[in-house]
């Protein structure tokens, strides 16, 4: 058995540039530090440090650590509401965390710095390696080392065949095993190398990671997305004003949005109604929509489910949520119908207890505002009022309180120019309506019922219930590139880790008595437990006329 280290040391005596692409860094000599550092020397040294494996490792670990706070603290990009809540609960530490970017970890300067440095290091490391690898692929396998016995795997045998025959057989065997081969020492030694794919895969992996980063980055510039809420029976057209929220990359203008539209015909919803432990858990949501690719185009009908988005004109619409929109009609103090239609209610819990706000700015003589709760399957609880016990609409109830503005005044503020949330009612300039006994008026409505508001301010009818669906619409033109890069990275790293890079040499010479001596040796990159078998098989093939491998003789002759 030959000591591995001795073998590799022997290998080091080969030309350095050959080994640089062959041996892993751990088995190469450390580069000497420059003796004196001028400005050029210094910058070169810095660049060397930045592109060293050690720095890459450090940055990798730093990246892991830097990514963690994003899982602990709420993130604005994911859930602004929870960030607000956190800030209001942690008045002392919150603002500091905010300033340090803990609520926007993945766009924070420190996180960006880590990954940008990592990728600069990557470029600086991978490009020279690619160049060297290309050269290695183009050039013939390196010359046969003088002392094969010092290689990690080695075998010798004396045979009867003439030298030329053995060399020919060695070439044949190596070729059959898909080695690239070269003849050296005047045709008496054969060098073979294979497994270039390992290094190719490794480079591909690192370059693909770079491509992935670029694709993700480009997506931020060219994508757009937002949320929309569509009530059964109504239509969404892909234009900015239709979105409840919208974000887009700097390269996207409103005119870039493709002019598709779709109508939500029906939203079928099913909740768990058998199992007691998960009663009310969502089981199925299916939206049936009629899509038009552009105004006037022929409509087509599609179904959308949670994992099955609607695909239309480069964009995808994902079913993100759903809820109820009670259909109401409101008459004002003059008896005129001033509002009629569905009003989307905001779902607040798993039983679909929903917040309802109805604003009636056109009511005369006094503007009206109603606020309250919709319970899809209502149950009256002593002390708690109405609660919902099941998310499906089995026994819907609308529980409202009513407010009115001073006659002739814009108490709702709808014309004030200040943007308002449709889900909240600012009551600061409204008066709560009370019954004759002075209690706040509470209206309880079943579908089909009408309630009269106090003080001749009007009446409200709960006509029925419709469902709405909210859709996440997004378009990310570089998605495909990101996926492609990721797949290449996966292929690359697999090749890199599973393909073995090996060198095998056969030298044939004549000893003092004129006999033919065959020597074989092998060197592998990194760990390679199979190298011994490989060398032995090649050796057997070269030394035996029938090419059949037999181990016993070899063993006895190994050092």
């Amino acid at each position: 058995m030959v000591d591995v280290r001795t073998g590799k040391q022997a290998a080091r005596s080969a030309p350095a540039e050959q080994l640089e692409t062959f041996l892993p860094e751990t088995e190469q000599d450390a580069p000497a530090a420059p003796a004196r550092l001028g400005l050029v020397g210094w910058s070169r040294w810095t660049w060397r440090q930045l592109t060293s494996m050690r720095t890459a490792l450090l940055l990798l670990l730093l990246l892991a650590v830097a990514a963690l706070p994003g899982s602990v603290f709420p993130q604005r990009r994911i859930d602004t509401g929870r960030v607000q809540q956190y800030l209001s609960e942690h008045r002392a530490s919150g603002p500091w965390l905010d300033r340090l970017g803990f609520f926007d970890v993945y766009t924070s300067p420190w996180f960006s710095a880590v990954y940008l440095l990592l990728f600069v290091s990557l470029v600086g490391c991978v490009l020279p390696r690619s160049r060297r690898h290309l050269a290695a692929v183009r050039s013939a396998p390196p010359r046969t080392p003088r002392r094969l016995a010092r290689m990690p795997e080695h075998a010798v045998r004396v045979v009867d065949d003439p030298v030329a025959d053995v060399v020919a057989r060695a070439r044949e065997v190596l070729r059959a095993r898909r080695y690239r081969i070269a003849l050296h020492d005047g045709g008496t030694s054969v060098a073979g190398e294979k497994g270039y794919l390992a290094e190719t895969g490794n480079l591909l992996f690192h370059l693909a990671l770079l491509a992935l980063l670029v694709s993700v980055g480009a997506g931020l510039f060219t994508g757009y997305g937002g949320q929309v809420l569509v009530i059964e029976g109504s239509t969404f057209a892909n234009a900015l004003p239709m979105y409840n929220s919208f974000t887009s990359g700097s390269r996207v203008t409103p005119a870039d949005l493709p002019p598709f539209s779709f109508t939500l015909d029906k939203l079928a919803v099913r909740f768990e109604d058998r199992s007691t432990s998960q009663l009310g858990a969502p089981r199925e949501f299916t939206a049936t929509v009629t899509v038009r690719d552009r105004p006037g185009a022929a409509p087509r009908t599609e179904t959308v489910q949670v994992n099955k988005p609607l695909q239309v004109d480069g964009a995808k619409a994902y079913l993100a949520g759903n809820g109820y929109a009670p259909v109401v009609s409101v008459r004002d103090g003059t008896g005129a119908v001033v509002l009629r239609g569905p009003v989307p209610a905001l779902v607040t819990d798993a039983e679909y207890t929903s917040t309802v706000v109805i604003k009636v700015p056109d009511a005369r003589p006094r503007q009206l505002g109603l606020a309250g709760t919709l319970v899809p399957t209502g149950l009256r609880q002593p002390g708690e009022g109405w609660i919902s016990i099941f998310p499906d609409a089995l026994a819907p109830r609308l529980v409202l309180t009513a407010f009115a503005a001073a006659p002739g005044q814009d108490g709702l503020g709808v014309n004030s120019g200040v943007p308002q949330s449709v889900y909240s009612l600012d009551v600061s300039r409204l008066t709560q309506l009370r019954t004759s006994d002075g209690q706040p008026a509470r209206l309880l409505l079943k579908p089909g019922e009408t309630a009269t508001l106090p003080d001749n301010t009007g009446s409200i009818t709960f006509e029925g219930l419709r469902r709405y669906a909210s859709f996440d619409i997004s378009s990310d033109p570089t998605k495909g590139w990101a996926l492609g890069s990721a797949l290449l990275a996966l292929a690359g790293v697999t090749a890199s880790l599973f393909v073995r890079r090996r060198r095998v040499w056969i030298r044939v010479s004549t000893d003092g008595e004129g006999r033919t001596v065959v020597e074989a040796a092998g060197l592998a990159r990194g760990e390679d437990a199979g190298l011994g078998d490989e060398v032995r098989a090649v050796f057997e093939g070269a030394t035996r006329a029938d090419g059949v491998a037999g181990r016993r003789t070899v063993r006895g002759e190994r050092e």
Partner: protein
């Protein structure tokens, strides 16, 4: 689709039976180590020995799986010492351990299968099912390796954690058989989770091996310093630290592309469910961190100045992240993956 309560009940019974048999296997493996430790005391692992000419380094053991890395793993184990060292000694207890593990695995797999049949879907929709199915994959992976190479010394360190996981699953995570919320109906869920299971199982084996490696290394250093370790004789029955290091490396090499695939499939799933392939939700973040740490580990192995031991600490960090991702993130962190069913 209703839940078949009878089948669900059968599943529970199978899992309890599997736990019982695993306990027996654990006992057998422990006995095996104890016996081998006593035998091996005379020739501690890792000490240089005279080897008959030609018998040694990767000599002659099966070449059937040479091309695969798992094969190399076990080759590393073979390198550990002479053909008849303590680590190769076959005890009856070890054999019983393996047989019991097979039996336990059949029960365990049956439990997973009946659970799936009872709800007519893949049996990993909540934390309980996750733990049960995941630990079944760990056992399967271990058995797959054991049938190729003698890694019975790992038995106690694999069956132990499996038993612990099942215990946790039954006692803490238990959720009644039920159907999935719509976001979990997906082909990609199936792919994503099954590959994640296999990768995690390999990481689990790798972790156990690494722990043994670190312990072995301490003992070897102590011995080299002239202070033979007094306790833990059974460790002498195990391969040398260098051989364990090689095994652990091979396991991690096999796991890394699988974990890469897991993250990728997760992104594809997220894209098909929510429209964005990456949302940085806690589960995704931790999967990413795990990936980076294990990439760091492979990287470290090729970095000058990072010997086996330093790199081994990264394995500990990586595995801690896996546990964190599974146990803590599913349950306590708010995110789109919070479907643990607890």
């Amino acid at each position: 689709m209703a839940v078949d309560e009878n089948l669900a009940q059968v599943s529970n019974t199978l899992i309890y039976s599997a736990m019982l048999v695993y306990t027996g296997a654990l006992g057998a493996y422990t006995a095996d180590l104890a016996i081998r430790g006593r035998h091996g005391a005379g020739e501690p692992a890792g000490r240089p020995r005279v080897v008959p000419a030609g018998v040694g380094a990767s000599g002659g053991s099966s070449s059937g799986s040479r091309s695969s890395s798992a094969g190399h793993a076990a080759d590393g184990v073979d390198d550990a010492g002479p053909a008849v060292g303590a680590s190769r000694l076959r005890t009856k207890a070890g054999g019983i351990g393996v047989s019991l593990t097979c039996l336990a695995f059949l029960l365990h797999a049956g439990g997973v299968l009946t659970r799936g049949l009872s709800v007519q879907r893949v049996p990993w929709g909540n934390m309980y099912e996750f733990s049960v199915a995941g630990s079944a994959v760990v056992t399967a992976t271990f058995l797959a390796v054991v049938f190729r190479r003698d890694v019975r010394y790992l038995g106690a360190f694999v069956v132990g954690p499996v038993l612990l996981t099942l215990g946790l699953a039954v006692a803490v995570f238990y959720t009644q058989a039920d159907q999935l919320v719509p976001a979990l109906h997906s082909f990609w869920l199936l792919i994503h989770v099954s590959v994640a299971f296999v990768a995690s199982a390999l990481y689990t084996l790798g972790f156990s091996t690494t722990i043994l490696q670190l312990v072995q290394e301490r003992r070897e250093r102590a011995r080299a310093a002239g202070r033979p370790p007094a306790r833990g004789r059974f460790m002498d029955a195990l391969p040398s630290a260098a051989a364990l290091d090689r095994s652990s490396y091979s396991l991690h090499v096999a796991a890394f592309p699988l974990w890469t695939f897991t993250v990728l499939a997760g992104a594809i799933w997220a894209e098909s469910a929510w429209g964005r392939y990456w949302n940085w939700d806690p589960k995704e973040t931790w999967s990413f961190v795990i990936w980076v740490v294990y990439a760091g580990h492979l990287h470290a192995r090729a970095t000058r100045g990072w010997d086996g031991r330093k790199a081994a600490y990264l394995v500990l960090a990586g595995y801690a992240c896996i546990l964190m991702n599974f146990m803590i993130v599913n349950v306590f962190f708010v995110g789109r993956h919070s479907y643990g069913g607890l």
